[in-house]
Amino acid sequence: MEESHGWKSMRTFWGVLLILVLGAAPGWAALGEPESSVSADRQFLRGQIREEVHPGYRLHQITDASGGVVREYVSPAGKVFAVSWQGPFVPNLQQLLGSYFPYLQQYAQAQTGRRGGPLLIQNENFVFTSGGHMRGYHGRAYVPSLLPTNLTPEVVQ
């Protein structure tokens, strides 16, 4: 097989990235966290952020160079109540789901064997979907208790 070129010059680059990742670890959480955590996500995802103000919520949309899009929905109370993603990769869900990641782990790990479908979790604390296919994944998650009272989950796109 052909060897990859320019590796040595890349090594420094990856080293820096790794430090960024580790350094960002305490501030990873997004879902359920204050709006300020969005910027940590942007740093981690290394994408362009766009802010939109909608009736009843604010939307932060982070687009990276792969075309992947992560959306974070912030309530008037300043909490990220929902996240969604679409793109060629499933983003790091530990980063995106923060303190809600264990809900996903617990449910997903309880699956025995490959069933061949998407993953759907719905309980009173945490709602999650993950589907799509290689190079085209999509998913959404929200916390029912953080959903602003005048909104329905359909705002999460």
């Binding site: 990859s4 983003p91 996903l104 069933r115 993953l119 296919h133 190079r135 994944y137």
Partner: protein
Amino acid sequence: MRRKNVSAATRASLLVVMAGGMFLASCGSGGTGNNIPLPVITLSPASASVAAGAPLQFTATVVSSYSTTITWSVNNILGGNSTLGTVSSSGLYTAPASVPNPATVTVKAVSSAETNPSGSAIVTITAPVVNAVVAVAPTDSSTPAGTTVQFAATVTGTANTAVTWSVNGVAGGNSTVGTISAKGLYTAPTTAPSPPTVAVTATSQAETSQSASTTLTLTTSNTAPLYVNFGLNGNTGNPNTASYNGLFTTVTVCLPGTADCQIIPDILVDTGTVGLRVLNSVLTTAPATELGTVRDSAGNQVQECTQFRDTSYAWGPVLVADVVIAGEKAPSVPIQVIGDTTFTVPITSCLSLGSGPSLDTVAALGANGILGIGTSIQDCGLNCAGGQTFSGYPYYICPNDVCQVAPVPLVQQVANPVAFFATDNNGVEIILPSISSAGAPSLPYTNAAGTSLVPAGLLVFGIGTQSNNALGSATVYATDSNGNFSNVVYDEFSFPSGGFVDTGLNALYVLDPHTLGILDCADNPYYCPETPLSLSLTTYGANGASGTVTLNIANADTLFGTNPGFAAFNNLGGARGTGLSTDYFDLGLPFFFGRSVFVGIAGTTAPKNVSAPNGYFAF
């Protein structure tokens, strides 16, 4: 003693012994020469046991000086009946199909002579005992048209182990379905029949009710059989864990440039992923340690963390193998070997992406591997070949045992083997037969008698390259940059980039319970509408093509409850409602039954002058 057979019995043995000179002589010697002796009848056997439904021949021996006719009865009923068994005019008793109560009957032969002498025998009817057990090997195999396959039948439980061979119920077969010799050598026809799956049956000659069947799918150089079943975990009996609608084929993996190959069955066929992934644990004659390696310029072996939509993941090295399917060969193509533990999975990235189970065992994967034959050449593409990495990036190197993400040039990425075939390399055609709306046990399927055959599907390589993969009237849908239809319209609702077709998806996941209002099943992740639904969608390609697709969704609880052993369903829909605006129409395997679906690879010239830089679906 003179014997005269007075019966017209075809099977023999009603004997009437006419009392001839010897008897008379003996009488005469007693001095009573004028007396004519009375007939005496004896039945043989005098008592017997016979299995329900089985025949038993009686012989009546009449000692008489007269010509006499015999009538037969069972429990004094002339000729018997279906409950007690029947007896013919020649004394052939046939036991009833089931054991009567009481289980003992009396078979009687009565002479027409004066005084109506008779003889009787006691028959005990027993439950039928099946001794012969027949097994046939190889099971559910495939062979190219025009070749031969030696079948073997194993018969146990009876001394006579001879069998009679048949193909599709025809003893010895014929020129259309292939012939089979008395010794089980099957010779395939030079052209595969339609459907291309035949049933080969061995029937015990000792007990003709006992037989065993298996299927054989005839392939041509660019076709491989497609099997639908539960996969290697079998039917768990639990809809939450059973892998309905699993699509499988057989792949041969060879050490590059050698004839050291391993035939690996039960490989999942997945148009939703790209590249061959094989479990390390199943590689024996083509072991991972002898496959070619993929390294960066510093000598680090490339590793991959493959994500799947259900958040499960596969970790292992990228290695190089020759991949052979049917008569096509992809030389030196990068594959992923799953479950090679040379390097431990990087917890902070791969594990947190793949929060679900690691698919590193047969039990976890339910297969020996995954054959990804989707719309692209590489599994990642330019996003993994440049200087940038992204959240969810799949490729790693592990210098000093510390794994970190790394760029990998296109030629080193895990790749679609089809794109590397010498011919027929622009895509695939998936052909699955129609099945009942009640489902099917599996594909191919045959019962022990070789009937109720549902043929295997066919994976045909190439699109428009041979007579067996012509596009015909199929509509070409160029996929968008996400690998999806550019738009799906349902009931005036428009879902941009809202769907795809995927053989690796086990149901029709139409993730919009809010719009569709379909009832979820209470205890499993499928849909349970009160009555079967028929959804009409309009699908759009990025090239502007459009067409109507009808999806049928039945009540999954009813499907599973009616036929708990069935693996194949053309109307299984999901999934659980989440309250989210989940606007996707993901058309899994149920969509493929009764269709030919083409999946064209990006970068090839699409048919019908369609511009499809990201690949295409056609159906």
